[in-house]
Amino acid sequence: MQRIGVFVCWCGSNIAATVDVETVAQTLAKEPGVVFSTDYQYMCSQAGQELIQEAIREHRLTGVVICSCSPRMHEATFRKTVEKAGLNPYLLEIANIREQCSWIHKDKLTATQKAVILGRAAIAKVQLNAPLTAGKSPVTKRALVIGGGIAGIQTALDIAEAGFPVDIVEKKPTIGGKMTQIDKTFPTLDCAACILTPKMVDASQNENIDIISYAQVEKVQGFVGNFSVTIRKKARYVDEHKCTGCGLCTEKCPQKKVPNEFNLGLDNRRAIYIPFAQAVPKVATIDPNYCAMLKSGKCGVCAKVCTAGAIDYKQQDQLITREYGAIVVATGFEPIQLDKFDEFAYSQSPDVVTSLEFERLMNAAGPTGGTLLRPSDGKHPHTLVFVQCVGSRCDGAEKGKSYCSKICCMYTAKHAMLTREKYPDTEVYVFYIDVRTPGKNFDEFYRRAVEEYGVHYIKGMVGKVTPQDGKLKVQASDLLGGRQLRIDADMVILAAAIEPDKTARPLATMLTASMDTNDFFTEAHPKLRPVESPTAGIFLSGACQGPKDIPETVAQASAAAAKVIGLLVKDSLTCNPCTAKPDELMCNGCSSCEKVCPYGAITYVDKSFRGPNRTTLIRRVAQVNPAVCQGCGACTVACPSGAMDLLGFSNQQILAEVDAICR
């Protein structure tokens, strides 16, 4: 016979003002199985919890129902409470009489009646609750960081620093990411390379860090603490261990006309290349799309000049499978394609560039050696027009991105300022909708651009850019000045919106991590768990979660690392005990459940059963790995025989709730 205790919380006046808590407690006391029922001002307070614990001991309760705020708020709290009193934590049910009752109803009688019904449903359910014990699963003490930009590097360094081995998987031949392409950083204007490259070197020299460059994640299996990841390391046709990075091959390669992606196609590289001088690992890579040897078997110059004998035209993609306890996603961002914004003439004139291209044009290691020259004729530009919010803040996917890309205001101010500083003879116009500078020393930076450097900030969007007679005719409106502007510009720089890297979506599917409609990874909680994905063991670092600047990225990267370390220091993990459980006697072995399980938690075994008349039957039956099962319940409905049930949310429990509510 069940002995159930009911505890009705006032939540101060939050509940008590609308729900007659005393009536609720008294009414529920009459329910079958209830041996104790009371109300109290704050059940979650120390005193409230003690009251529950005392009642459990005194009345030898076998189940507890707490009528209070949402279980999403305090279920964990109260589970601990009852556990401390010696009751299994899963013999507790919470009736949500605050968020789903007192806060949405005004009439006291109505709300009280509803609270009673919700209480009854919880009592009906708790009668059927079974004590559940969370299982343990071991933790592999190694982390995987996907993406080797500043976010991935920082996360890896922090994890390695704590003593855990960590692998960085980078799809490009070198780590460093977008930050390597940036010239100076706002608002301090220190050189990006100067602060990034030491970190890259640190990463490459750290014993705990293994950089797997020119590689991609191919398959992810397992679950928190026990991931098994297959990584495809693409053939670079150069033996990484032999190559010294001397660069001789990249000078001798006869194929000179390969667009240099590091400089965004503004200049060319060879078919064998090292992306940039400070690349990590500093080894050459052969681009198979351009290498004559790989395409037609005729050339072999690089192999001839390489004294280290590192060139290997027969190299194959390599599949590496490793076990990890945690995975950090740091896939970053890229600027959007600008084909939709034909009015800015990006595809019509080489002098219309994106801000990232402008970074390269300003960079000493860039195609122009740091001298600002127009791409079309290599001449010095005199009038520059910056356009903000290109593709950001748009209405719907057809127009562009609905979000603010966050970093453009600041880097545009930086560009404008640097241009004016280096070339005081230029006129610089910045067309903005709003200038958004929330950040330490950010607004001051923007004001300096206007006040000290004389950048013309004009409120209004550029309407049209027309290439004409070697100039770019910019038609715009000065909304505050109330005049139409027609500027003959030499260059137009577009602050293109940023979007998540294209590899993020397929990766999310592999990781079973959720994404928003913009393909940014979703965090477990937007405020309280910002660096965790809702999928346990998957963490988020940097711009894959949303647009952010370098300091924010680094902060989040370290935060993600802290979370990973918190996970890896554990020897084992407590599993969610509310998992699917098949009744082997009912199971048909039909594989329906397996097909809908998103975690691959279900396997089948042939098992002997005692048949009628002393016979033995061998049947195929489902087995659930409770460490892998996340308890969604998809299998329970797919199962035609009803053999699969979900602990904690069993058919009987839910039906009991339905009955209690509908009666």
């Binding site: 009459k30 329910e31 079958p32 009628p612 008349n613 009955d659 209690a660 509908c662 009666r663």
Partner: protein, 333 residues
């Protein structure tokens, strides 16, 4: 003997229904069934109903009691046995005989009060057969389909219905009807019954003392092999009388009811001690042993079958009591 013009059968039904509830075999949703007569409801042209006439005395589902729960108090209200008299018209000789078999079970002490009340309230008006189906074998069980019995026996010939009261209840019913005329029915032609393919079945061998021999017969294994374990034979059978008592949680209490059960089901009599008949062979054997052996052994040789042929028509795999009886006697299946 009384007579009534068949062309005005409706008026006869109206007259009966004016005084008490009347059930006649009629087509409802394309299926012949005993249905409560209402103006416009016509008799079926089918020889017999799909479900047997036992439904009217032993319905498939019957409430026994209601337990009401308020907080921690429980109150019980037993269901009332039927108080209203009713007439069931058009019962065939086979079904009429089935009432005797059911009576021997339900009216034996302690009598089943629900069944008893219905039997007492009912006036059974039977109807003689003239056009049997090939599946009919009541004649092999000593039933005369042309002298069907009941409280009132009826015959249809040409344009006339002939009615003959057999009991006081029957007399009372006929007396209550207006405009019945006197008459004598012409002799019926029974030659078709001699042509029935199953007319020569002999069930006498089963009621002897050889119970264990039948039980241990090797034929059960083969016979039961293709049985699906459904309950269609038991549920259309006029003599099957097994039921289960179940509780339904209404949310406010419990509705206790009984419903037909089938020995063909794997959970039949599971409530008693758990290890019931483990395979379909045992279940299958139980059904036919009961009809052919146990029942006659316990009830003075009365075979638990009336030869209505329903199981022959309805079994999804065409296994039936005739095939079983023949196989048992031949000793091979």
């Amino acid at each position: 003997m009384k007579t009534w013009k068949l062309s005005t059968l409706d008026a006869l039904f109206a007259a009966i229904a004016g005084k008490q509830t009347l059930y006649i075999p009629a087509d409802v949703a394309g299926q012949p069934v005993f249905a409560r007569w209402e103006p416009g409801l016509a008799m079926t042209r089918a020889l017999n109903t799909g479900r047997s006439a036992k439904d009217l005395f032993f319905p498939q589902v019957e409430d026994l009691a209601r337990f009401r729960v308020a907080g921690k108090t429980v109150s019980v209200s037993p269901a009332q046995a039927l108080q209203e008299p009713f007439v069931i018209f058009g019962v065939r000789a086979c079904d009429c005989r089935s009432f005797d078999i059911l009576d021997s079970v339900f009216l034996a002490e302690p009598a089943d009060t629900f069944y008893q009340a219905r039997r007492e309230q009912a006036t059974v008006v039977t109807l003689a057969c003239s056009q049997p189906e090939e599946t009919c074998f009541c004649t092999s069980l000593g039933i005369d389909p042309q002298a069907p019995g009941g409280d009132v026996s009826c015959w249809m010939a040409e344009d006339t219905l002939y009615l003959q009261a057999n009991t006081e209840k029957g007399e009372a019913l006929l007396a209550s009807l207006p405009r019945l005329e006197d008459g004598e029915k012409p002799d019926a032609d029974s030659s078709v019954f001699d042509k029935l393919p199953l007319k020569d079945l002999d069930f006498s061998a089963f009621s002897g003392k050889a119970l264990m021999d039948w039980f241990n017969s090797p034929v059960w294994e083969r016979l039961s092999q293709s049985c699906l374990g459904c309950g269609s034979c038991t549920f259309v059978c006029p003599t099957c009388q097994c039921y289960d008592v179940r509780d339904f949680d209404t949310g406010h209490g419990v509705q206790r009811y009984r419903c037909w059960d089938s020995c063909m089901y794997s959970d039949f009599t599971m409530m008693a001690h758990g290890t019931n008949r483990p395979t379909q062979k045992e279940r299958f054997r139980q059904r036919f042993m009961h009809k052919l052996v146990y029942h006659p052994n316990n009830h003075g040789g009365q075979i638990g079958c009336v030869g209505c042929g329903r199981c022959l028509q309805k079994c999804p795999i065409s296994m039936n009591i005739v095939k079983v009886a023949n196989a048992l006697k031949e000793g091979k299946a």
